[in-house]
Symmetry: C3
Subunit: 347 residues, 3 copies
Amino acid sequence: MNKNFKKKLRDLASILDVTYEGDGEIEIFGYSGIQEGKKGTITFLADAKFEKYLKNTKASAVIIKKDFKAISADKPVLYSENPYYTFIKVVEIFDPVIHPEQGIHKTAVLEKDVKIGKNVSIGAHVFIGNMTEIEDDSVIYPSAYIGKNCKIGKKSIIYPNVSILDRTSIGNRVTIHSGTVIGSDGFGYINVSGVHKKIPQLGNVVIEDDVEIGSNVSLDRATLEETRICKGTKIDNLVQIAHNVKIGNNTLIISQVGIAGSSEIGSNVILAGQVGVVGHIKIGDYSMIGSQSGVGKSLPNNSRCSGSPAFNHRNWLKSITTFPKIPEMFKRIKNLEEKIAKLDMEK
Amino acid sequence: MNKNFKKKLRDLASILDVTYEGDGEIEIFGYSGIQEGKKGTITFLADAKFEKYLKNTKASAVIIKKDFKAISADKPVLYSENPYYTFIKVVEIFDPVIHPEQGIHKTAVLEKDVKIGKNVSIGAHVFIGNMTEIEDDSVIYPSAYIGKNCKIGKKSIIYPNVSILDRTSIGNRVTIHSGTVIGSDGFGYINVSGVHKKIPQLGNVVIEDDVEIGSNVSLDRATLEETRICKGTKIDNLVQIAHNVKIGNNTLIISQVGIAGSSEIGSNVILAGQVGVVGHIKIGDYSMIGSQSGVGKSLPNNSRCSGSPAFNHRNWLKSITTFPKIPEMFKRIKNLEEKIAKLDMEK
Amino acid sequence: MNKNFKKKLRDLASILDVTYEGDGEIEIFGYSGIQEGKKGTITFLADAKFEKYLKNTKASAVIIKKDFKAISADKPVLYSENPYYTFIKVVEIFDPVIHPEQGIHKTAVLEKDVKIGKNVSIGAHVFIGNMTEIEDDSVIYPSAYIGKNCKIGKKSIIYPNVSILDRTSIGNRVTIHSGTVIGSDGFGYINVSGVHKKIPQLGNVVIEDDVEIGSNVSLDRATLEETRICKGTKIDNLVQIAHNVKIGNNTLIISQVGIAGSSEIGSNVILAGQVGVVGHIKIGDYSMIGSQSGVGKSLPNNSRCSGSPAFNHRNWLKSITTFPKIPEMFKRIKNLEEKIAKLDMEK
């Protein structure tokens, strides 16, 4: 936040596409939390349990939910469907991430027939291979490697030390964090007389718009055809995605998940941390898989599974809650057997 | 595939070291699957269940198994012990992976006493330390780092952003994918009055011929002596191999496996995805460990184990199949106890 | 070891800050194990069970424990509180890790207002962003990336292909191994009508003195405020540390552990390999968590836990030992039920 960069509340409302009430002329230079609220900043109230802070916050304006209209705030307000989201947009206005300057650094190496769009930043020690295209407003940080015949769409950000291998296609507004590898060879061998012979990995990787991929992720190219991450999906750090995997839209893959070859993960799925998925199965849309689970067979839409191997989450909860009691169960069975033997003898 | 690059069937048979039957003069420019077969290409038949496609495939020639000789294909055939493997070699002829041009890029930095063999490619922004040798026909992709006193054999491929630390020895026909680190310090400390003091990691890493290592793998140098990966072993992405580990020949280590310090994995072993192996144990040759298992003690040759901690795979299967029933078992025990108490009272 | 670099035993004792007995004038050029002991070297005896080798070792001097004084060694000795640790220091004297030469390589790119201390080494193809400071005696290996407004303290070592993003603060004597990413964005999204909108990650990462971080680790910046690794903590390879995590002093995080957002790990904790820790919990000081465990709730100091989800380690051991017997338990319950039914009928 820079105290010299101010916006009138009226203008802020317009940029954020929300309505306001109160003095639209007040000047805002930043944001703050409702408790520690600071003069000249705007805060937000998303949860009724923080309402008590509303009266005394020192923030100069508050973003509140449309149906909170009843609440009388004694200061200017912005009305939003989703105050937290509107607040995030305020944060981005006053604290934008500042990427490197536009232009091609003199130490970058571009092979022939590379096409660079407008307002692109190509950092120091970057390598870009033959026939690759980087579209407008994208940022390639220093020491990234981009192979031949790749395409990177508009407003995408490739962080330092990322490796993007040949023929990868990346959409618009995609972010790829440091150390991630896109398009390494899939793990495919055929055993010929006890020796593993490599199966050529000739396919590629397609990453659609609005995907974000964390750091140190490994995402293999397909054997033939493609490995595909669909629009809006977000992948956390240290995830393994094998050859020919397809992941649908708006799915969340949490850190250290591994997905084996040719499996298909639906849309709006959540795979929690350290989940493993075997190859050649399909996990249906809107499914949620608990952390450290191992999914060994296909699952329909809306599945809730946990465990290794994974099964219905509620049933797993019952089993895992009983698990600490199995030594006691064992003793009680022994006990019963003795009693029955005794009863049997006495009869 | 490039339609202008053609080979006569007769010549293809000779290159592939197989026999042929039919018109050896026909020209082949590529390959295709048996169902979608394309004129001018060669396809293969490895599995009898696809035999029905043989008659109508549009491919101009077919690779078939030697003992399929009986089958009358109305087109030229190549006879192979292993049609799929022969087909893979056809793919490599018509669709070879094209690595960067030979030569040393002007932005590469080679320290003194670096020895470079014939037909080597050293990419942009590569660093190679003192006394390191790169042998004939090897390819070092851009932004790879190779330290001092290393040796890389013939026909090896080091992909972008790989880090190979000092004194690493790499054999012939080795492939190392992007982001992988070979020769980082092992995790060794001695606790002195509550403070962890580093134990110097002075050993190195030896990677034998025909090994392939995936992307973002961590392979630590030995404390003393060596960490060794033997001939023909294949390691998938995001695998952890600690100091002083030894892995035998032709073993497969699937993604996200972790092997702790000084453990020895035999030859022809398969460790499935996300397996953990504790330190200082030995897993015998031809063993198979199920995904997500935790191996806590040494295992003889030919072991089949699963679970965390791992035990006999068949027994584990029985236990894991019973696991969902333990809440019910608990109830049935209670029930039995009540009945027995009642019987006991009544007697 | 270099046979021409020798030290008198008297001088070695003084450097190591220990006392000696016997001929202080003998010259030592290196170190060896007690069994294979070599003339001209010094060895150590840390464990009484190796005492039998003491008499015949060919080493010219021995480091022994103070309370071993009774033992009559017929050769010069150094007396140490901790012979193994003193031996390690001997190793460091005779076999120091040799880092690259001081100076700034001509291919390194330093943006404006970068401050470099004395005796610093900045390797080839390094990038250092605006306003970043590298203090005295630190080593930045080739192809490392260090963003804007970072600080790296004295005697720290950043290995090749490390990425350190903007505003990261690193203390003195910190080591970061290759491929590691410090300060990538945390995994934070808000779901707006089924679409995941990114929550800006505006905080930073603070790494205190004497921390060592392995290779291919992902350590995310905080959403706001900081992700912090406290003094003396050691982190192994391929570990995931999410946004806003805090790890105390002298903690050991073994390979492939994942710690979710905002969790706090105490001091002197050990998290064994492949452990997962959910978000927003606290693991107390001096706790030990068994390998592959999943910690799902806060734990007090001195906890010993295993399992997924983790519970008391001893109880878990009992359960996991009983686990292979549950198919048999199931049969015995059935059996009991039949017997009871029979008894019931007969009564």
